[in-house]
Symmetry: C2
Subunit: 197 residues, 2 copies
C-alpha cells in the first residue's frame, strides 16, 4: 500500500521510454531507499534542461545557446549542410567524425497523416538559408523510410530551385553485413547503386 507521493513518482517515471510499471516501481524505491541525492540531482537536471535547452536559431538542434556549438564553430565548413531528422542523428554522425560541415535538424519528417507539414520541420528557415547563398552542397541524411524518403525528395526540389547541389547518403549493404541476412529492399538498392571496380 504505497503512499500517494510514491504512487505519483511511479506514474511520473512511466513517461520515460522503455519504462513499464515494474521498472518504474523499482526506480522509485531505489531512489527513495538508496539514492535520494542522485534523485535530487536528476530533478534539478530535468528542470534545468527543460527550462534552458531550446533550438539553435540556425540548425534547430537542441542547445542552451542562441546558436549551437557546431553552427558557431569556425572550424566547421559552413557551406556543407547535412539534413537529418533528429538530434540523435547528429550525435551518431559526430561520433563517426566523418563530416566536417554543419547540420540542419528537421525534428521529425513530413507526415501529412499526423498533420506535420513543411512549416513544422522548419523548412522555411532552411529555404531562407539555401537562397542566402552561403551553402553550396546539401547532403540528405534522412532515414531510408517512406516518410524519410518523401522528406528528402521535398528538400531536394527546394535545393534545386535555389541552385544548390544535393546529394543523398549511399544505400547498400552495411559493413560486416552478411548477404544471407540482408532484406530484399536493401539488396535491390545495393544492385541499383553498384560501382565498377
Amino acid at each position: 500500500m504505497p503512499s500517494p507521493l510514491i504512487n505519483s513518482l511511479v506514474e511520473a517515471l512511466r513517461i520515460l521510454p522503455g519504462v513499464g510499471p515494474k521498472s518504474a516501481q523499482r526506480m522509485a524505491y531505489y531512489v527513495l531507499e538508496r539514492n535520494r541525492k542522485g534523485g535530487d540531482k536528476l530533478a534539478y537536471a530535468l528542470q534545468q534542461a527543460i527550462e534552458k535547452v531550446g533550438n539553435c536559431a540556425k540548425c534547430r538542434d537542441l542547445t542552451e545557446a542562441e546558436v549551437c556549438g557546431i553552427c558557431s564553430s569556425p572550424r566547421r565548413l559552413q557551406h556543407e549542410l547535412c539534413v537529418v531528422e533528429n538530434p540523435t542523428d547528429v550525435t551518431v554522425i559526430e561520433q563517426s567524425g566523418i563530416f566536417k560541415g554543419v547540420y540542419f535538424v528537421l525534428m521529425g519528417h513530413l507526415s501529412p497523416i499526423d498533420g506535420i507539414g513543411p512549416q513544422d520541420l522548419g523548412l522555411d528557415i532552411l529555404k531562407a538559408r539555401l537562397v542566402e547563398g552561403e551553402i553550396t552542397e546539401v547532403i540528405l541524411a534522412t532515414n531510408p523510410t517512406v516518410e524519410g524518403e518523401a522528406t528528402a525528395h521535398y528538400i531536394q526540389q527546394m535545393a534545386k530551385d535555389a541552385g544548390v547541389a544535393v546529394s543523398r547518403l549511399a544505400q547498400g549493404i552495411p559493413m560486416g553485413g552478411e548477404l544471407e541476412y540482408i532484406d530484399s529492399g536493401t539488396l535491390s538498392q545495393a544492385f541499383a547503386g553498384r560501382k565498377t571496380v
Copy 2:
C-alpha cells in the same frame, strides 16, 4: 555534440537502475523533444517524494505520514507482525491479499561485511515492540538467501526471548513450478518440509 545541460541530464538519468548510456540518451532526447510537460511533472514528483517521504515510526515502511496507512488502520490485526526486508515485499504481499496483520520493514538484511548491524535494521525498535506485549506472533518473511536466513535467525532469537511465537514462511516448490527445473536447494527444502496427506 550535445550541450552541457543535455549531458548532465543524461548523466543524472543513469543513476536509475537498469538505465545505461544509450537508454539515458534516448530518455533525455525524448523528454526534451516530445514531452517537456511530463519531464516537469517527473522533476516535481521526485522532489516532492524525496522531501516528504520518510519512514513510518512503527514499521519503518516508506510513507509521507508519521505512521503509515497499514499501521494506523483499525481493520488490520495489530498482534500479527510480518517482518520483511524491503518496501517492495510489502507491496507484493499486499497484492496477494493473504495477510491481514501489520508489517515491520527492515530496509535490508544483516550484513557484517557491509557494516550493516542490528541497529541499521531498526531491530531496537522491533525489540521494544516485542517486549511491549501487543504482538503475539512474528512471521518471518525475509528472503531465503544466506543473509536473509541469518537475519531471520537473529529476529527469531529476539522474539523467543520476549516470549512471542515465531513462524517462517514455508519453503518448497512454487506453484506451477516443474520438478525438472527446480534447483536442488529448493528441492531439499521441499523434502525436509514434506507433509503427510
